[in-house]
């Protein structure tokens, strides 16, 4: 896809995982990116809204660069964004981030530990860096 995004914010789309801590990490990393470390550069979108065929949501993923954050290998965020016609410039896997922190207890589906927050922030900072590159018209490693 030719970059039509221009200065549009990059969409950070977390999975809808709810029963495990990986889903919460995906969600909190997204909030950290959109609310703190990449405010204005990034925006977010409900995956469930996209999956239910909301026209505005579908149009948005087709006209913005997208970064997906998936909690598990089922990769619901990446796959459903692609099915809706969006270009996933970067697909982040929470499991990959956790591999760099072996032995860490990130928390539960309900709440993150301090270590969990560190992992979420690490993901958010990487997403922010990629989002800035995308907004500048550069490519990022998928």
């Amino acid at each position: 896809m030719e970059s039509e995004a221009g200065k549009n914010p990059v969409l950070v789309i977390p999975c809808s995982g709810i029963g495990k801590v990986q889903g919460l990490l995906s969600r909190e990393a997204t909030y950290l990116a959109t609310d703190e470390v990449a405010t204005g550069v990034t925006d977010t979108l409900c995956l469930a809204l996209l999956v239910t065929g909301d026209e505005d949501a579908v149009a948005k993923v087709q006209t913005h660069e997208c970064i997906t954050i998936d909690g598990c290998a089922k990769a619901c965020a990446r796959k459903n964004t692609e099915i809706a016609g969006g270009r996933v410039a970067k697909a982040v896997q929470v499991a990959d981030a956790l591999k760099n922190h072996r032995g860490v207890q990130p928390g539960t589906a309900e709440i993150l530990t301090l270590d969990g927050w560190s992992v979420a922030r690490e993901i958010a900072e990487a997403v922010a860096a990629d989002a800035e590159r995308l907004q500048a018209g550069e490519e990022v490693a998928p």
């Binding site: 977390p14 995982g17 909030y31 409900c46 928390g107």
Partner: protein, 281 residues
Amino acid sequence: MSYAVLACNGVDKAEGALAREVGLLVAEATGGDVICPVLLNRAPDRYQKALGEDALIVVDGCGTRCASKLAAGVGAKPKQKVLLSTLVKASGEHLQASLRLAPGGMALAESIVADIVAALGAPGRQATPAAWEAPTEFFVVLFDKFEFRIPKQGYLFCENDTWARQMGNRARVGISDYLQQQLTDILYFNPPVLGARVEQFGELGEVESSKAIFEIIAPVSGTVVAVNETVVGESPELVNADPYGEGWLAEIEMSAWAEESELLLDGPAYRGTVGPKAADY
């Protein structure tokens, strides 16, 4: 009866965060399964048992009703459907512009969950985060015949010898080992009112010991969302036996952790204050 909970888990409005909390709390209260909404759409077979045998509770954050649509998409017939945006409006609460749940939001979530559980006729229980692990490493301050333990990490203290342990936007609060030993046997904990607003360094209930009545000082500000009913009820002595673990006193949904934590002491700093306090006592 067994239950399954399908919450929209939206991210682009505060109501989505509320839906997530309500969904998890309902699942906890009913012992139900949690359904991942988008995975339900991609792989409904995974939830065959939940959809076929369990009573389904659907929780939508906003009027687009994504969870309801996803349930309908797989032919599920919910036992109960909840639309949070209308309940928020009816409650008079104003969820903040942030996508995260606002202070006060957790108390609203627990109130909504209590109503849902009551309507189901399921036995409810107070929802409390499960990930509060007991500390394992301590500094030990020796004074005379006393040993005062201080967790090496994860706890922040105020000068009035209460501690706060942060998890997300909540803090669990209790008193230090030093204070419980000074007070001697704790006989009674008069807790703060659930839902009450407390200020940092303001009053957070009081404990009565065989020696004194002591006002608990809140190390952080926010809304009281839980109290340790075991300590309030049958076992106030837990405060003596395990002040950093089972003897916690209350949980506060915080409103200014980043700023207020700067005014608290970490384990090493608090350790430096305990010896002089004991000497002055």
